[in-house]
C-alpha cells in the first residue's frame, strides 16, 4: 500500500527501506535528511492519494507534537496518522481527540527492535480503533519478522505506547539483572571466564534471551568492557513506567531499582551520600572539616 513516512532517521529510514523491500510505496519526508522524497510536509500530503496513511517517526516531545499539529491542518477527513515514536500514552489520547474532531484517525504504535529491525523485523504494538488498525494492517504485517508474530493490537488509543513503555521497563529490569550478575562474577575473584560463562548461557539455560546474545557479543568484542564507562542514560519510558506504577499503586521494585541505578551512574558525587557522610562525621562529634568519613555508632 501507499504510506507517507515522516522522519527518516535510524528508525524511520530503516522501516521505510523494509517496507519498500516488501513492495509498499513509501513517500519519505525528513526536515534534516537528504534522503527525503519531498521537501515539505505539505508536499508529502499532496503526493499521497486520499484517504492517506501517514506514519510519524520523529523524536518524542516537541518534534512529534508540532508534526502532528501541522498534519492536523494539512490532512483531510478519512486520513489516518500513525504515531510510531516514543510518545507518552496520555499525549496519544489528547492528540487522537483533536484529530478525531476533523475526521482524521489516529493509531499509536510502539516499535521495538532497534537497527536490527530492518533485517530481523520489528515488534509492533498498537492502540486505536479496530477500523483504523485494520486499515494500516498491511504495513504492520510487513514490519514484523518474516517468521510471523511481533504484532499486537493492545487496546484503544494509548495502549500501543503503554505496552511499549512497559516493554522498555521490563527491558530495564533484565539489563540490570545481567549487569548485577556480571559485577558479582567479576568481584568474586572466583570466575576465570566471565565472557565464556555468558556465552555458554545462550543455549540450554533459563536466562537465554536476545539481551544475553547481545551481551555475549559485547564481551567477545571487549572481554573486560574496558572501553566503556559505567554510565547509562535513560529514555522517557523507564521513568514513565515507574510513574505509572506509582499512579496505579503497583509495586515495581526491580524496574525502579534499574532506573535508579542509571540515575546514580550519571552522578559524579551523590548529594544523598554527602548527607550520610556528614552524619557519620557528626557521630564523631567534631566539626566537618574534611572529605572523610568517621564511622557509625
Amino acid at each position: 500500500m501507499q504510506l507517507g513516512m515522516i522522519g527518516l532517521g535510524k528508525m524511520g529510514g530503516n522501516m521505510a527501506a523494509r517496507l519498500r523491500d516488501k513492495g509498499h510505496e513509501v513517500v519519505g519526508y525528513d526536515a534534516f535528511s537528504e534522503e527525503r522524497d519531498v521537501d515539505t510536509l505539505a508536499a508529502l500530503v499532496d503526493r499521497l492519494a486520499a484517504p492517506r496513511v501517514v506514519w510519524v517517526m520523529v523524536p518524542a516531545g516537541d518534534p512529534t507534537a508540532s508534526t502532528i499539529a501541522e498534519l492536523g491542518d494539512l490532512l483531510a477527513e478519512g486520513d489516518l496518522v500513525i504515531e510510531g515514536g516514543n510518545s507518552h500514552y496520555a499525549d496519544d489520547r489528547a492528540r487522537a481527540e483533536e484529530l478525531s474532531a476533523k475526521g482524521i484517525g489516529y493509531v499509536d504504535a510502539g516499535v521495538s527492535g532497534g537497527v536490527w529491525g530492518r533485517s530481523n523485523g520489528y515488534g509492533i504494538m498498537v492502540g486505536g480503533s479496530a477500523e483504523d488498525v485494520e486499515r494500516a494492517r498491511p504495513v504492520f504485517d510487513s514490519l514484523v519478522p518474516d517468521e510471523g508474530g511481533g504484532f499486537v493490537h493492545a487496546g484503544r488509543v494509548g495502549a500501543g505506547h503503554f505496552v511499549k513503555m512497559v516493554h522498555n521497563g521490563i527491558e530495564y529490569g533484565m539489563m540490570q539483572a545481567f549487569g548485577e550478575g556480571y559485577e558479582l562474577m567479576v568481584a568474586s575473584g572466583l570466575v576465570d571466564n566471565v565472557p565464556g560463562t555468558f556465552e555458554s548461557w545462550r543455549e540450554g539455560t533459563v536466562v537465554r534471551s536476545w539481551l544475553l546474545d547481545l551481551l555475549s557479543r559485547a564481551l567477545e568484542e571487549d572481554p573486560e568492557l574496558s572501553r566503556l564507562r559505567g554510565y547509562a542514560e535513560d529514555s522517557g519510558e523507564g521513568r514513565w513506567t515507574v510513574q505509572a506504577a506509582v499512579d496505579h499503586a503497583v509495586p515495581a521494585p526491580a524496574i525502579t531499582a534499574s532506573l535508579y541505578a542509571r540515575f546514580a551512574s550519571r552522578q559524579d558525587d551523590s548529594p544523598a551520600m554527602k548527607v550520610v557522610a556528614a552524619l557519620r562525621n557528626q557521630f564523631g562529634g567534631h566539626a566537618v572539616t574534611k572529605a572523610e568519613d568517621s564511622g557509625d555508632a
Copy 2:
C-alpha cells in the same frame, strides 16, 4: 563413557536418560526409586570400572553432604566425583579438599534447563582442575544442546556452582521484571489483550527470551492466571546471590528486590507493615484498638 549417576529424580533421571540416548553407559542409584540399577551406593561403586566417574544429583544440603561423605569412603584414588546439585560454592571447596586428601578428584557442575533439558539439552557450568574437567568432558558434551554451546569451565572448584547461583539470581530479576510489567498492564485498565501482548513480544523485540516464551505459554493456558496464587518459594541460590553480593560489596538492587518480593508473597500479614500501621495510628493520638489505619501527618 561409563558413569555412575546417584539420584534419579526429575533432574538426574532425565540426565541419565539423555546420556544413555547418546550412547553412554549409565549405572543409576537412588535411595528412593525403583528405577535404580543397583541397590546400594557400595554396589554402584563395585559395578563401575576404575578409575570411576560418579555424578551426584541429589537434593542440596544434608543428602548431598552425606552422599559425598560416603563416597569418600567407598571410592579410590583416581576416581572423580561430579557434584551436580545446587550446592553452595563454599561447600564445594571443603568437599574437594577432603576428597583430594584421598586422591579423589572433584568437579562442581551447575545444571540449568529443568525438565526441558532432556530434549533441549542442559546448560552446564563447571568448576575444577583442567584435568578433572577434561576427563568428564564426554558427559558434558552429551548433556548440552545438540546445536552446541551450553558449556563453560568457569574456574577452579566452586566456580561452577557460583556461576549457576548467579544465573539463578539473574533469572530471579528477569522473572520479577516480567511480573511487574504484567501487573502494571493489568492495573492500567488500558490494555485489552495482555496475553497477546506477551505473545507478540516473542518476535522482534528486545525482551524476547525463553522466559517470555514460557510466560506466553502460561497465559495461553490460563489468560488471567486465575488458577494460581501470587505465592513463590525461593531456592537457596537467590539468597546466596544476595549474600555473596553483600560479601563483595556489590550493589544488587534488582535481584534483591526480586528475592524480597518472593519473601513478601509468602506472608499472610507483614510484621513490618504492622509497625507502619501502628505508627500511623499513633499520629492520631489514640490508643491502638482496632485493625485500622489513621493517617500520615
Copy 3:
C-alpha cells in the same frame, strides 16, 4: 491578629483552638461542622476586616480546589490566602497565578504534627513572597512549638508544600526502617524482649526520635501488635515524592521501597507474583493446573 479558618476538622479545628489560646481572633467555617462561626464562605469573608487573611484547611484535591476558586470570587485585592492542606506543589503555582491576577496573595503552608500539634505545636513550612509570608507571621509564630523552631520560609510559592512532601517521604523511610528492624527481631527468635528493646533505644542511641517514642508507646499498649493488620494506606505525599525524584533523576531507593511496601501490604494476591509462580510451574513443563509452585531451574 484576625484570621479566617476554613475547615474545622482534626487539623483545622485544633489549629484554630491553638490560635485562640494564643489570643488571635479566629472566624471558623466548615461545610460539615457545627463548630463553625459563620454559615457560608461569603459570610466568613464579610465577617473579616480587609485586608483579610484566610487559612484553607480542607481535604486535598477537589475540596481545596473548589474552596480556593470560590475564594477567588469572594476576596478582594490585598487579601491573602494560606493553603495549609496537602496540595501538590504544582497546583500551588497555578492557584497563586490565578489569585495574583486579582491582587490576592497566596502562601502555601505544609503543616506537620498531627493531633499532637495542638499541645506540642506544629511544624510549619511555607512558600510565597517575603511580603505575604511576613503578613501571616504572627499566625505561624503561634502555631509552632512554644520552645521555638518549627518554622521555615522555604522558598517561592510551592516550596512549602514541596518540603512538606519531602518531609513525609523521609517519614515513610524512617517508618519502614523501624518496621523492618522490628520484623527481623521477631523473626530471629533470639530477642525475648522486643518492646523493651525499642523502649531502651529512646535514650542514648542514634535512632532516638519521635517516631521511636510513638512505636514504643504502641508496643506498650499491644506488645505483639496483635490488634493490627499489616496494612498501610499511603497519602499523596509519598507518591509525589517518588514522582518528583523520578522527574529530577534523583535515586530514592529507600523512600520508594517504603511506598512499595505499603502498596504490597494492601494486595490480597500479587499479580506480579502470579507471573513468577506461573514461570516456576512452566519450568516443570506441565500445564498450570493448580495453585502450586514447582521450582526454579
Copy 4:
C-alpha cells in the same frame, strides 16, 4: 564496683572515664595507649579482685577474638567477660560456650552513642543469663543516660549484639531517607533554604530525631556540604542485618537500599552499569568502540 576495661580508644576510653566519674574503680589496659593502668592483660587480671568483671572494647574481628581467647586462659571460674565491641551474634555464642566450659560467664553488650556518650550516656543492649547480667548491672546503670532508660536485657547470649546490629540497620535506613530527601530538595531548584528547612523540622514534626539534630548541625557548619564527598563506608552491622534478613526470609528493602547506596558511593565506575551501557550500544548494532551510550530500543 571494680571493672577491668580492655581497649581505651574513642569508645572504651570515654566509657572508662564516665564510669570513674560515677564512682567505679576502673583498671584500664590498651595495647597501644599510654593511658593504660597496667602493661599487660595478665597484669590487668592480677590487679582485679576475684570474682572479676572485664569489659572488652577492642576492634571487632581478630583483635576481639584473640583478646577473649587470651582472657580464657587468664581468668578463673566465677569471672565474667563483657564483650562490648561490634561482634557478630553468632561469634558470641561460640565464645560463650568456650568460656562456659571454664566456668567463666559471658555477656554481649551492644553500645550506641558514639563520642557523645560520655556526656549524654550510652544506649546499652545486652544478651546473657539473668545472673551474669545482674552482676554487671551497676556498670550498665552508670553508662546509660542520667535521665534513665537506655538499657535492655534483650535475651540470651548474642541477643545484645543482634539488637545492636538491627539498631544500626535501622540507622542506615534513617540516614538514607534523610539523604534522599536532601538530594531531592537540592535538585528541585524550588527550595531556597535547605539548611533552614532541616533546622525547622527539629521541632513539631514527625521526623524530629537525634539524626536530624546532627544533620542540622552539619548543615550549619557547611550549608552545601561542599567540604564532603558523597562517599560512605559501611561497618559490619549493616551487612549482617541484610544477611540476617535473608536468612530469616524477612523483606528488608529500605535497609538494603541504604547499604547498597553506600556500596555504590565507593565505586569509581560501576561494572554493572558497563553492562547496561554495552547493551545499549549493541542495540545500535555497531561495535563497542567508545565510552558512549547509544540508546534503548
